[in-house]
């Protein structure tokens, strides 16, 4: 690929090792991924729960009315 020459690391193992700081860097990026994931998943689940709850409620109301 044309971007290869701009890569900072020589090999993939180098990239993972990050000098001596691999643990810290990857830990940070891992935690960030988790926090973002949690932030995305929470409202989706909340929305699903809300819609389920409300549709169930409406169905029951309809049944009672008829």
């Amino acid at each position: 690929m044309f971007l290869d020459s701009y890569l900072f690391f020589d090999s993939f193992a180098d990239f993972l090792a990050m000098g001596k700081h691999g643990f810290y860097v990857w830990l940070c990026y891992g935690i960030t991924a988790l926090v973002i994931l949690a932030n995305v998943v929470a409202p989706i689940r909340q929305r699903k729960k809300l819609i389920d709850q409300q549709t169930r409620l409406q169905r029951r109301e309809k049944k009672n009315a008829s």
């Binding site: 971007l3 701009y6 890569l7 900072f8 690391f9 990239f15 990050m18 000098g19 001596k20 700081h21 691999g22 810290y24 860097v25 830990l27 940070c28 990026y29 935690i31 960030t32 926090v35 973002i36 949690a38 932030n39 995305v40 929470a42 409202p43 989706i44 909340q46 929305r47 809300l50 819609i51 409300q54 549709t55 409406q58 169905r59």
Partner: protein, 252 residues
């Protein structure tokens, strides 16, 4: 221009309008969010050269700084939304403020934890009472206060108002806290290595940082949209349009 803004503001006050328009807007935010975050992360991790002093650990900057910036401006946005609610009684603003609080707190937490992890290779310990970290910690406390207050109230109306008042008081205090923490820090630790010296940052390091900052702000917008949409559905659940909306989803 002014008229258009005014019209937008009045429309924003309508939960139904917001719900419908945000459904159309969301994809336009999600795509660039993912793009910016991916490009920024890959660029920052693999292409930027390492810092001559800190080595590769400096790559944490690409999440630490955007998260810290976002956490601070999220607090300001929350307070401004609270003020709009208090002054013009716009319910949408209260819901936006309530949506921002947990998101802002989580990014504040992220900034803190990445700062602590960054501290280990830089200073040799997990926690140093550095000015930036300390004021981030205090900002997290401010978020905790607002969230605890909102949860403690029985009525949603007074929870929103109390949260708004507290976040406004906090907003006035943030610059004072920041200034006093910085002053305290120079007093006690004159010679610590700073994470970043903004002015001396090289272009090739700066550009991915700017991309990541843009990505974090876009992500924030997406998350606020998502949460506020839920708030709209919940608060308007007794309204006809929501009932019809639920019905149409159930029929499908």
């Amino acid at each position: 221009m002014w008229e258009a803004l005014k019209r937008l503001y009045h429309r924003m006050g309508s939960p139904k309008w917001f719900y419908e328009i945000s459904a159309k807007w969301l994809p336009w935010f999600v795509v660039p969010t993912v793009g910016f975050l991916l490009v920024g992360t890959i660029w920052g991790l693999a292409f930027t050269p390492a810092d001559y002093q800190q080595g590769n650990s400096f790559r944490i900057i690409y999440i630490h700084v955007p998260a810290a910036l976002l956490a601070q401006s999220a607090y300001a946005m929350m307070a401004i939304a609270g003020a709009v609610f208090l002054i013009w009684r716009m319910k949408m603003a209260a819901w936006v403020a309530a949506s921002i609080a947990p998101i802002g707190a989580s990014f504040c937490f992220l900034a803190l934890i990445t700062g602590a992890i960054w501290g280990k290779p830089t200073w040799g310990t997990w926690w140093v009472w550095d000015a930036r970290l300390t004021s981030m910690l205090l900002l997290l406390f401010l978020y905790f206060g607002v969230m605890a207050l909102q949860k403690a109230m029985d009525s949603e109306e007074s929870a929103a108002k109390a949260g708004a008042i507290l976040s406004l008081v906090g907003l006035v205090n943030i610059p004072i806290i920041k200034y006093s923490v910085e002053w305290w820090n120079t007093l006690h630790q004159p010679a610590t290595l700073k994470f970043t010296e903004e002015s001396t940052m090289a272009m090739e390091m700066l550009i991915p940082l700017l991309i990541m900052i843009a990505g974090f702000y876009l992500l924030f917008a997406v998350l606020v949209f998502m949460r506020t949409r839920n708030q709209v559905l919940w608060h308007e659940r007794k309204k006809n349009w929501v009932k019809q909306y639920m019905q149409s989803r159930a029929d499908k």
